[in-house]
Structure formats: C-alpha cells, structure tokens
C-alpha cells in the first residue's frame, strides 16, 4: 500500500474504480482496484489508527534545532549584498543597521553593495568608501564600472562569443529596447554572479534590520507543498507594532543554516495536523533542497498591486477592517505584516525578495526587466527540480518605503496586466506545458520554449496573453467571491469595494490588448508593445539556455580568487 502515499506517481484510469499507478521513483507499475480505494477512504478518516501509523513512516517535520546550531554556519560564511537603486539616504540607513546588527558580530563577512543608480552612483560610491575607511569592515561597491569588469571576467573564462556576451549583458543590464520597463532583476543577477558559489543574504535598500517575531513561535518547521505565509494589513504602524515583539534571533545564522540540503534522516516525528498534504519528496524520503529563504517583512507596503487589500484573509482582518475610517486608511496606504509563527518550507512560488537568503548552488537568473521578478525566479527554481523548496521565516525585517504611492479611488477602477504579472503567467504556462509532456524542466528546455513562444505572430501573442489573463481574472473573481461568502459580506464597506472591483475586472478584461503589459502600452502602441514583449521572452529564453555556463564560470572565477 506504500504507493498510495507516494504522490510522485502518475495514475491511469482503467475502468470503473480501477487504475494503474506508475511510481516514478521505483519505476514500477501497480494496479489499484476498488478494494484498495475503499481501504484508502477508510484510512483517510480522521482518527484512524491505521492511518496514523502509516503517516508515522512518512513523517514530515523537521527538527528546528538543526537550523539554530552554529556549527553548520561556521564552514559556510555567507556574503551579504544590498541591492540599491537611486536611494542614497535609504542605503545609508541599511548599511548602518547591518553594521550595528551583523558586522559588529561577524566582522569578516563581506558586504557588497550592488548599485544600478545612474544619478547617484558617484555619491553612493563615495559613501561606501567613506564608511569602509571609517569603520574598517569589508564593504565593496559594485556600480556600472565593476559590473563591466565582471562581465569581462566571465567572458574571459568561457568560449567567448557574441551570444554569450549578449546573454551576460542582458542578465546584468537588461536591454536598451526595454528601458521603459526597469526592474531590480539585473542588479540581483549581478549579485548572483559576484557571489556565485557562496551563500548570499540579500537585502533591498529599503530594509532595516530591526527583527520582529510573533509571541509564540512554533518549535518545529512545517514542510508543505503549497502553504505561504499569512499577510495582515493595518491602518498604521502603531497598530502593527502591537502585534509583534522584538526578536533577538541571529538572523544571519538562521538564514544561512536553513539554506541547502536536508537529508531525509533529518525528517522525523509526526506533525499533529494530519490533514496537511504530505509533500511528495518527504513521502519518498528524498532530500529537501532549500534554494532560497525569505524573511518576513513588516512596515510600509512593498508592492504596487492593490488586489492584496481586497483579497486579505489574515487573522486580523476582522478587527482591522471593521472600522470604516481605518479601512479607508488601509485602502490608501496599508501597513503590512508578512509573518508566520513557524518556519514554512514550501513549493508554492510565493516570494518577496526584499530580504532573502540564496543557496550557494546554482540558481536561475532573475528577469532583468519589470517587477515580480522574485515570483518568477521562485517559480523557475521550483520547476527545475522536485527537490527544490523555498523557506519562509518566522522572523521579520522592517520595510521602510516612504515614497510608496498612495492608492486612490481611481486605482480601484483599474485592472490591467503589469509586465511582471504577465510574464509570470506566460512562464508558468510554459512550465506547465513542458511538464504536461512528462518532460523535465531544465534551463535549456525552458529557455528554448520561451524562445519558441516569442516567435508567435503578433495576434497569436495578444491572444495567448489575453487567454492567460482571462484565466487569472476568472480565478481572482472566484477568490473574491469565496471571501465574500466566508466573511458573510462583512464589513459592508469592504464587500461593496469587492463588488465594485469584480465589476472593474469584468469591464477591463473584454479588451484583448489590455492583457499586454501596461508599462509597455504607456510608452508604445500595441504593435510595438507586442514586439518588445516578445523580445523580452526571446532574450530571457536565450539567457536561460546559456545561464549554467555563465554561472559556473563566475563560480570558478570566484573560487580561484579565493583559494588560488
């Protein structure tokens, strides 16, 4: 009966109630008849001893001690990077907070500032040099000049050709043609290459290392196929502050230790909520490879999508939305808390890259244009290997973004596809197509498939984007209706907003070209927007195909520098 729990299998129906199950791990086929199905149904009844015994063989709880032990960390010194763009004041704040909270404890850690500012690059360079000289820590600045050098170094270590040169340039700087869609992806890719082969802890320049946690942190780590951390929204920081406590966790140690491989022997004992889906890997006793770790975030909002405000399903929703005035504050300028009370290890591609850890093994390149680059990056990580997981920490850093745009009523009457969302949908759809053919998702297969779709005619491209956007819109409406039902349309002011927004979605989706990225449509006509959108996919596809060679060359260069 073991195969019943091995989710990593393919089932073929062979008649009423019977099927053939192919076990991908053992490469064997079993037959499942009506009798087996009845047994499963009985086992699944809550409280069945038989079921619990079965589950005990397939336990899925990681002992949390392993990530708090320091011995693992000592041999894996991480590098810290700050991703910055035109915010010298914020940059100064985060450097100060890293010095005070991290470098003072670990003075040997290298802090690398990756900057793609154009107006403030000299100012930032000067600032870094000044701090470095004053404080004596290993703080390095990587602006355009250093990135050019990085590109040159990687090229010199590979079979230099124009394709490779173009791909590296795209990874680091993006392409000039898509200048109207900037994003932090290029800066993040520079960080991946500069520190290739090392664990990275990366912060955005609007983060402050002021760690908070919930009062009762669970003493175990939850492994799940699809769980994501909860988000709560508040009208102001005061209300939020009451919900969390200061934490004295060593965030560097915690994040460094959780990254990498966990052999199945680390997985022991049973988690008490046996309704949780058992991850396929755990069922097989495979190792879990945590490729990226996300820290919780609290403070000013960090994305420009207001849908989260209407879709909020956090445990504090009832209280924070109840008062109409407070709700209106949330609607225009929400303060967010993205934090769970336990460590979650998941394969859900939910990822916010403001404060993250990245494993020292190869990870894909971020899309160098547009936002949602982190969600796309996480989706690709998960698709590339069934052992790849993402972790969410029960500790949060502060997000301080004073320039966040205030949402207006007008924004609640707009529903358009952003470059990041559109790319996410297209890439996920491509991954789905590869998997539906039982083929493995690799850098090459994904890259080639993206290049392939970029060859679609303009009208087919618009249709594809529109089809995916419609599905997204349909699912969004479904979620909103579920929430209306769950909260019995209370409070009323929120329910009216949801109703209005559903109408907005229904109004906007009927125009096919609305499915094209709004960032492109803002500056270009439909035809040019399509061409640029396809160009992005071709270039990103080409980068993915060649990325393993780029990354491995960078890793080799770094190793030679370190040990040579």
């Amino acid at each position: 009966m073991d195969h019943l729990f091995s989710g990593y299998s393919v089932t073929f129906k062979t008649g009423k109630g019977s099927s053939l199950v192919y076990d991908l791990k053992n490469k064997s086929t079993r037959s499942l008849d009506n009798m087996d199905r009845r047994k499963v149904a009985n086992l699944n009844k809550k409280g069945s001893n038989n079921f619990l015994q079965k589950r005990s063989h397939l336990s899925f709880k990681l002992e949390s001690d392993i990530i708090y032990k320091k011995d693992k960390y000592c041999s894996n010194m991480p590098e810290i990077t700050i991703i910055t763009h035109e915010k010298p004041d914020s940059l100064l704040k985060i450097i100060s907070s890293i010095i005070d909270n991290v470098l003072i404890r670990y003075p040997d850690i290298e802090l690398k500032v990756i900057d793609d500012s154009i107006e403030n690059d000299e100012k930032n360079r000067h600032l870094i040099n000044k701090i470095k000289n004053e404080k004596g820590y290993k703080i390095l600045y990587f602006g355009k000049t250093e990135k050019n050098l990085l590109q040159k170094n990687i090229l010199s270590g590979t079979k230099k050709n124009s394709q490779m040169e173009k791909a590296i340039s795209f990874a680091i700087f993006g392409t000039h043609d898509l200048g109207s869609v900037p994003g932090p992806g290029g800066n993040r890719n520079s960080s991946l290459l500069i520190s290739a082969g090392k664990k990275i802890i990366s912060f955005d320049d609007d983060i402050i290392i002021n760690i908070k946690q919930h009062e009762n942190i669970a003493k175990f780590i939850k492994v799940s196929e699809n769980q994501i951390p909860e988000i709560n929204l508040y009208p102001d920081l005061n209300m939020l502050d009451k919900k969390i406590l200061n934490s004295n966790i060593d965030i560097i140690n915690y994040t460094t230790n959780i990254l990498g491989n966990f052999p199945s022997s680390y997985v022991s004992s049973v988690y008490d909520d046996y309704n949780t889906i058992i991850p396929e890997n755990i069922a097989f006793g495979k190792s879990i490879n945590i490729k990226a770790a996300m820290l919780g975030i609290y403070g000013e909002r960090w994305n420009d999508n207001l849908l989260g405000i209407l879709l909020n399903d956090g445990y504090d929703k009832k209280t924070s939305y109840k008062n109409k005035y407070k709700y209106s504050q949330i609607k225009s300028k929400p303060v967010s808390l993205l934090l769970h009370d336990e460590t979650i290890i998941t394969r859900a591609p939910f990822f916010v890259s403001s404060a993250i850890g990245i494993d020292k093994t190869e990870v894909p390149p971020f899309p160098p244009h547009g936002r949602n680059e982190d969600g796309i990056w996480a989706a690709i990580i998960i698709a590339l290997s069934d052992e790849s997981y993402i972790s969410h920490s029960p500790f949060a850093v502060k997000h301080s973004e004073n320039n966040a745009k205030i949402f207006t009523e007008q924004d609640y009457y707009t529903f358009s596809a952003g470059f990041g969302l559109s790319n996410y949908l297209l890439i996920q759809n491509t991954i789905k197509n590869i998997i539906s053919n039982y083929l493995k998702v690799t850098y090459e297969s994904l890259g080639k498939s993206l290049i392939n779709i970029s060859h679609l005619s303009d009208s087919d491209w618009i249709n594809l984007c529109h089809d995916l956007w419609l599905e997204y819109a349909g699912k969004t409406i479904e979620k909103l209706e579920l929430l209306l039902s769950k909260y019995k349309r209370k409070p009323k002011h929120w329910a009216i907003d949801v109703d209005n927004y559903i109408s907005t979605i229904e109004r906007e989706i009927v125009v096919n070209s609305n499915a094209l990225p709004k960032e492109l449509l803002k500056f270009h006509g439909i035809q040019k927007s399509v061409k640029l959108h396809k160009l992005f996919f071709r270039e990103y596809g080409e980068l993915l195909v060649i990325w393993p060679e780029i990354w491995q060359t960078a890793e080799r260069n770094n190793r030679i520098k370190t040990f040579g």
Partner: protein, 600 residues
C-alpha cells in the same frame, strides 16, 4: 426556407460561482455571461434554423425555462454573434479559384508481393479510369529479395507494353538517382544521411515494415502534383453498402469509419453491392477543392452537424480537401485479433450471438470499412493509406520511415502541424484481396506489445498537444526539435517516458473494455471471456517491468541496446521532420524543371 445559423467557437473561463468569461474566436470579442446561459450556449452545434436550435436547447434545458426565454436568448445570441448566419461561412469561399480537373499521378507501394502487384496492374490498366486518361503510374518497390524484385520488374515491363500511359518503376537504383538530383538542385545543402533516412532507412538486423519510407519516395517523386497512392493489395474494384440510399455530402469532425466484420467472404458479399464508378474522376473533382463550396453545391442541410470549431476554422481561411480516401472490402487490415471484439452498434448482435460466426470473425475477420451512405468531409486526422488521394501540390508531411500506422502518422502530422484542411471519405470500398491473410495464430492472441508505429503516433500526439504556434511548416520543424530532445533523453528517462506513454495507451484500452463489458452486461459469454482475457493481458503488459521496448526491437540484444536503437531512430525522425520542407520543396522544383524521376 428558414434562415440558418451556426454557433461561434468559444472558450469558456469560469469567473467566480455565477459567471463565465466567454471568448468568441470568430469575432475575437470577450464577453461575460451567467453560468446557466454559458451552459446553454455550450450545447449548441450545427448550422440550424432558429426553431431547430430552439429544439436542441429545450432538450438540454433541465430547468424547464419558458419558451419565450429561450427564444429571447437565441435572438440575443444572434445580436452578440454567438450565432452566425449561414451565408457568412459561404462568403469566405467566394475567392476560391479551384475548378476541378487536377492532374493525378497513380502510385503504388509494394514489398515482397509479386502476385499482388500483378493483380494491382490487371485491375487498373484495363479500367476506363486509367485507360482514357493514360494515367501515369509509379511503382515504388521496397523488396530486398533479388528474385522477387526481378519478378516485379518483369511484371512492370509486361504491363508497360500493353498500357499507353507512362509506367515508372522505382527501387534502390532509381532512388539513388533521385538523391543525386536533389543534391544537385540544392547544392548538397541537405545532409545525405537525412535523405537516406527519409527514403530508405531500416533498423539494423531487425525486420521492420518500411511502407513509410516507400510512401515518402512517392511523395517526393510526385511533389507539385496530386497523388493517388494505393497499396499493392487493393484491387481497382468497388463496392458499396447494400442499404446505401441517396448519397449526400456532409461536414463533420473527428469521424471514424464504421467497421463491419463478417465471418467469411460469402456473407460479406451478400451485404454489399458491386458498383462501377470512375474513382479518378471523383479525385479530380474534389481534391484541393474548397470543402464548403463542395458541400454547398451538393446538398442542403449538409452543415447540420458542423461543430463550432470547424466553422471557425473555415471562417479564418479557406481550408481545402487535402486527402480523399476510400474504404476496404475483403481481407482484414488490422493486426490485433482482439479488434473485432470492440464492435458496437446493430451489427454486433448479428455477429456475436452465434458462436460459430463469432469464432470465425475472431480468428480471421473478413472486413469491410466504408461509410454507410454519405460522402463525409471531416477535419480530423483519421485517414486510411490503402487507397488515398493526396493534394501534393503544396507541402504535405512525410511518413515516419518505419513501423505500422504510417498512414495514421501521416494524417496526425497533417492535422497537428500543417495548414488546416479536410479529408473526404468516400462511400465506396476497394476490394482488398483476403487470400494473403492467414488466420491468426495462438501467439497473435498473446503478444499485445506496442510497436514502433504505435509509439511514434502517441509521441507525436503527446509532443504536439501543447503547441501554440500557428499551423504551418514551422510547426513541423518545431516537432522535429521536440523529437530530437526526446531522442536525446538519458536511457533511463527515455524508458520512463515510453512506459508512461505505454500505460496511457493500455489503460485507455482497459477502460474501454470495462465500459463495454458493463454496457453489454457481459453477454454473450464467449465474447465476455475473450474481453476479460484481453484485459488481463493488457494489465500484465502494463505491470511488466521491461515491457516498454517496442515489439520489433524486443529481440534486439539487451534492453539498453534496443532502447538506444529506438532513441536514435526518434532523434533521426526529428532531423527528418526539420529537413522535410526543404526536401519536399527541392523535389517539387525538380519536377517543375522536368528533372525529376517523372521525366526519366
């Protein structure tokens, strides 16, 4: 007469609990509608009058809606273009220039059957269809045995003397000439190994069916013309159903020939009428014709069963009839002795209820495959290569060189990759000589392994299922890339893929057996026992550890060696699919410049 309307081709996307987004592919417009209305809309099909659509909706109306509500809804749909006037479909066909009378070249693929080839000639060159047109004939011979080959050459020479048209014999030597000419016209840009693979590949040390490569030769030699290809065991004599009435044309999709089994030739002949038709004339009239014009000229109500998808396909272009096929009457064409057990419909009782007849059919079913009474134009991928006319004026796909099902593969590639088109199924069957069909042997009832032909078909279906680019030669090339990727898989991954494909195939058959056993309540008992035996065999094959290796290669060294040979074959197929448009174009240019084998 009432004005008729056909439904638009829509995509339905659920938007919450009560609504759907409906994307109308005919107009490109997206709209929102309630769940119930979307449900009603999905039940529309065929080009019908308002009252006929009304009747359809009344039958699916589980909520007993008031008649006026349905009528108002239909009127609303007409305004919204969810129902489109019939004339719109014909407007699209006005620019068609096809006026019939295509030049047709007759081709025959033969291998190791000299007596059959002789019969093939005898029934054709005396037939008016051939005689009055002096139809050019090409014989593609894949025989390897020198003595049989000499016999075939002698047969060809004999008939050359008594026939006024051109007869061209093609075997290995002539193929080499073709290769040299293709190399010459393309400045040797197409790798020779690809050419060899396309037209004359066979597995080393394994006996395999090579009708695919033989057919590819016919395709290349006749590129730029219309080709009537018929197998060496199809005689030029015609039969129709005895109960056939007035013949009309209709348009549909996903059509399958009804298959009728008979215990012996005598009983088969009692159920058919011998008919005298000018088959070539039918081909000349309809091949490369616009499908809708054909049925519009031929019959009223012929779009009664048109699906929304097919109607939208016609609206977007002018799909033509690319292939025309006839049925078979006589010897069985299938290799699986269990196939007749799947017979359904009225014929079933007649066949299965008497044990003696049942046994005769099961052991060697005489067979007739022909439509009951209509000419059917369909947009699916099912066609039969035994007697097939092909519009080879524009790019057609190749066959994969080896294995059974070369015609199914050809049809699937046509349907999945190239420009949308139709197949016309004729209500006539050619005589299929049963004399060479031996009764099934005991081993035939136990060997249910999958051969390379079946695998190839399933792989094409799998790889093309997620294609999103428009139909055309680029799709063929893309499929070539996918085949190469598939052929480059690590051996253990490759075996796993084959196993999954095999399981998909076997489980489908098992599912169908379960369904039929339930449907007929396991009666008659001898039939049910055979079905259960077949089910057990399928299950055993599915559960077997090393059963993913194709049938022809099971005796080929170790499992690893056999899989490696198949892997390499699929990789080569990938290369062939990528080069095929260039090969075909070169062959067409040769013919246009009178440098091809047609002008020897």
């Amino acid at each position: 007469m009432d004005k008729k309307y056909y439904p638009s081709h829509n995509k339905y996307i659920k938007a919450g609990n009560n609504e759907y987004f409906i994307k109308n592919f005919n107009t490109g417009i997206t709209s929102i509608t309630g769940s119930f209305e979307a449900y009603l809309l999905q039940n529309l099909y065929g080009c019908r009058s308002i009252s006929e659509h009304f009747k359809l909706l009344k039958n699916v109306d589980q909520y007993e809606l008031d008649d006026s509500v349905i009528k108002n809804t239909i009127n609303k749909w007409i305004k919204q273009k969810f129902l489109i006037p019939e004339e719109h479909i014909f407007e699209k066909t006005e620019s068609i220039t096809k006026t019939g009378s295509s030049n047709i070249i007759s081709g025959c693929i033969t291998c190791n059957r000299p007596d059959m080839l002789k019969k093939w000639f005898e029934t054709r060159i005396q037939h008016e269809s051939y005689k009055k047109r002096k139809l050019s004939i090409i014989i593609c011979d894949d025989t390897k045995n020198t003595l049989i080959k000499e016999k075939n050459i002698k047969t060809v020479e004999t008939f050359k003397n008594s026939y006024q048209g051109k007869i061209i014999y093609i075997s290995d030597n002539e193929k080499k000439k073709l290769f040299l000419r293709i190399a010459d016209i393309t400045n040797s840009s197409i790798p020779r190994e690809i050419i060899d693979f396309t037209f004359s590949f066979s597995f080393p040390n394994v006996q395999s069916i090579t009708s695919g490569s033989n057919r590819n030769t016919l395709f290349a030699v006749t590129a730029g013309n219309c080709l009537y290809t018929s197998d060496d065991d199809k005689e030029f004599r015609f039969f129709s159903r005895k109960d056939q009435k007035k013949r009309i044309f209709s348009l549909t999709d996903s059509y399958r020939y009804p298959t009728n089994f008979h215990p012996d030739t005598k009983l088969l002949m009692e159920s058919v009428n011998k008919v005298n038709i000018d088959l070539i004339n039918i081909y000349e009239n309809y091949i490369a014709s616009d499908a809708v014009t054909v049925i519009y000229q031929r019959a009223n109500n012929s779009l009664m069963n048109i699906t929304a998808e097919t109607a939208a396909m016609i609206e977007k272009g002018n799909p033509v009839i690319n292939t025309i096929c006839a049925g078979y009457c006589g010897g069985r064409w299938f290799q699986n002795p269990y196939l007749p057990l799947f017979q359904q419909g009225d014929e079933r009782e007649h066949i299965f209820d008497e044990y003696k007849n049942y046994r005769l059919i099961r052991n060697n079913g005489i067979n007739m495959t022909a439509p009951i009474e209509n000419y059917i134009i369909e947009s699916g991928n099912f066609l039969m290569g035994g007697s097939l006319c092909i519009n080879n004026k524009s790019l057609i796909p190749p066959c994969l060189p080896l294995g059974t099902r070369d015609d199914t593969i050809f049809g699937t590639l046509f349907n999945r990759c190239l420009e949308p088109g139709f197949t016309l199924h004729l209500p006539f069957a050619l005589y299929h000589n049963p004399s060479v069909k031996h009764s099934f042997q005991p081993e035939n009832f136990t060997d249910i392994s999958i051969d390379t032909g079946v695998y190839s078909t399933l792989i094409i279906e799998k790889l093309t299922s997620s294609f999103i680019q428009p139909h055309g030669k680029e799709r063929l090339k893309e499929l070539g890339f996918r085949f190469q990727e598939f052929g480059e898989l690590k051996i253990e991954d490759f075996e796993e893929q084959l196993k999954l494909i095999q399981l998909g195939f076997l489980s489908k058959a098992m599912n169908h057996i379960s369904y039929l056993l339930d449907l007929y309540e396991r009666e008659p008992v001898w039939w049910a026992e055979d079905m259960e035996r077949y089910y057990s065999l399928l299950k055993k094959e599915a559960l077997g550890k090393d059963t993913a290796v194709p049938r022809e290669l099971r005796s080929y060294g170790t499992k690893k060696e056999a899989l490696t040979v198949f892997k390499n074959y699929l990789f080569k197929c990938g290369e062939m699919l990528q080069w095929w448009p260039e090969i075909w174009e070169a062959a067409k240019n040769l013919n246009e410049e009178k440098k091809g084998l047609l002008d020897i």
